[in-house]
């Protein structure tokens, strides 16, 4: 078995685009949208979720034959929470100010249904390496949505990108005003709805009511 054969590439691309977890599976929207006001927090959240999802899938796949089936959900939650604690402790050690803002949402990666969905739906029945790639692909697909929403919210809502001003000064002089709905919660709902609509237009995925 090669490490990056055609099959392995397909697993990653499925998660990233063809079966994007947000648009296709409608999963894991919970904890992430709240951190999309600024790019910086969204990027940290995306990296944290990627780490937890890919290594969580690999860890569950490694012990999949030893997990009794009636307590498997609890075991998966425990494996995931150990990884989440690792992410949180690293953030607390190196980015203390940032960690104070998003510690709650990092903790909520534990109950992110995307993580449980992938460990339960894929990693429980597959060897470690494909499970790792499946987790990675799904996490990247998820992160791409997160970062797109965050970029749009920060540029149109605050006129900045990663904290640097990007809207030219003469725009403001000509009467341009930052759109404050983007900073508030409804902006994220509208943008997510629009992005899902665009993704489904391209991929042709449809849903009955």
């Amino acid at each position: 078995m090669s490490l990056f054969g055609k099959k392995e590439r397909l697993i990653v691309i499925d998660g990233l685009w063809n079966k994007n977890p947000i648009s296709f599976l409608v999963m894991g929207i919970c904890s992430a949208l709240a951190v999309t006001v600024k790019m910086q927090t969204a990027l940290i959240m995306a990296l944290g979720t990627t780490f937890v999802l890919s290594f969580g899938c690999m860890a569950v796949a490694l012990i999949r034959n030893y997990i009794p089936s009636n307590i498997r959900i609890i075991v998966q939650i425990l494996v995931v929470s150990v990884l989440v604690i690792m992410v949180d402790q690293v953030l607390r050690a190196f980015f203390f100010d940032l960690s104070k803002q998003i510690s709650v949402f990092i903790g909520l990666i534990i109950t992110n249904t995307l993580v449980l969905g992938r460990t339960e739906g894929y990693a429980m029945n597959n060897p470690p390496w494909p499970s790792f790639l499946d987790g990675l692909g799904n996490a990247l697909g998820y992160s791409s949505f997160l970062l797109m929403i965050s970029a749009l919210r920060e540029i149109f809502g605050s006129g900045t990108f990663f904290g640097f001003p990007v809207v030219p000064h003469f725009f403001y002089q000509a009467g341009y005003i930052n759109n404050s709905i983007m900073v508030l919660a409804p902006g994220a709902f509208f943008l997510l709805g629009a992005l899902v609509c665009i993704h489904r237009m391209i991929t042709g995925h449809r849903e009955e009511h």
Binding site: V26, C30, I77, L78, V82, L108
Partner: protein
């Protein structure tokens, strides 16, 4: 007393778990297709949230906080890094116990509400309420009020959305927007409406 009422109104309306913090989106979208399902889930979530937030407060105050184990003769211990794993364990265990009790003593209730209990372990709104309680350093009384009202606010939002989706049944949006897309936009408008409650206090 006024303080508690203000906290409850703020948590239910302005700081609503879904509409301001996006917590509990997954079951919010999956279980809002029928009002009956939504009501059952809302009641179960409110119950679990009211129970778990004060329980986790006790856990935090007497086990996890720095110096909290002084009553056991270990004043130097700081177990706060274990809080994530113990909070979720409390929620999972309480769900399991409630499910068994309801199944044993109230089979009729189990048929309507009990089937939703396993879903709630993975509901971000319940775990999120505990984390907010931890972060904002609520007192025991406040955590009781906060636990109830965060669950009630979540329940109110999901029942409202279920009613709106029923009306959406007769609408005819563009095909790619059907389902998730139009539901998210509707939720956005709901969030805007709930923001109108900002500033109400007693």
């Amino acid at each position: 007393m006024n303080h508690y009422i203000t906290l409850a109104i703020k948590t239910i309306f302005t700081d609503n778990m879904i509409l301001a913090y996006f917590l509990g989106m997954c079951s919010f979208l999956a279980c809002s297709k029928q009002i009956k399902t939504a009501t059952g889930l809302a009641m179960a979530t409110t119950f679990i949230s009211t129970m778990t937030v004060p329980m986790n407060w006790l856990l935090k105050a007497y086990v996890l906080k720095k110096g909290a184990l002084a009553w056991a003769g270990l004043p130097g211990l700081d177990l706060s890094y274990l809080s994530f794993i113990l909070f979720i364990a409390t929620i999972a265990a309480l769900n399991q116990i409630t499910e068994m009790i309801v199944d044993r003593f109230a089979p009729a209730l189990y048929a309507t509400v009990g089937i939703f209990l396993p879903l709630i372990t993975a509901n971000c709104a319940v775990l999120g309420a505990t984390f907010f309680m931890d972060q904002r350093d609520y007192t025991f009384g406040e955590s009781l009020v906060f636990g109830f009202s965060s669950g009630a606010g979540w329940g109110l939002a999901i029942i409202t959305l279920a009613a709106l989706r029923k009306k959406l049944w007769y609408s005819n949006p563009p095909a790619p927007l059907k389902g998730l897309g139009i539901t998210m936009m509707t939720t956005g408008f709901m969030a805007m409406a709930f923001m109108a409650f900002a500033g109400i206090a007693f």
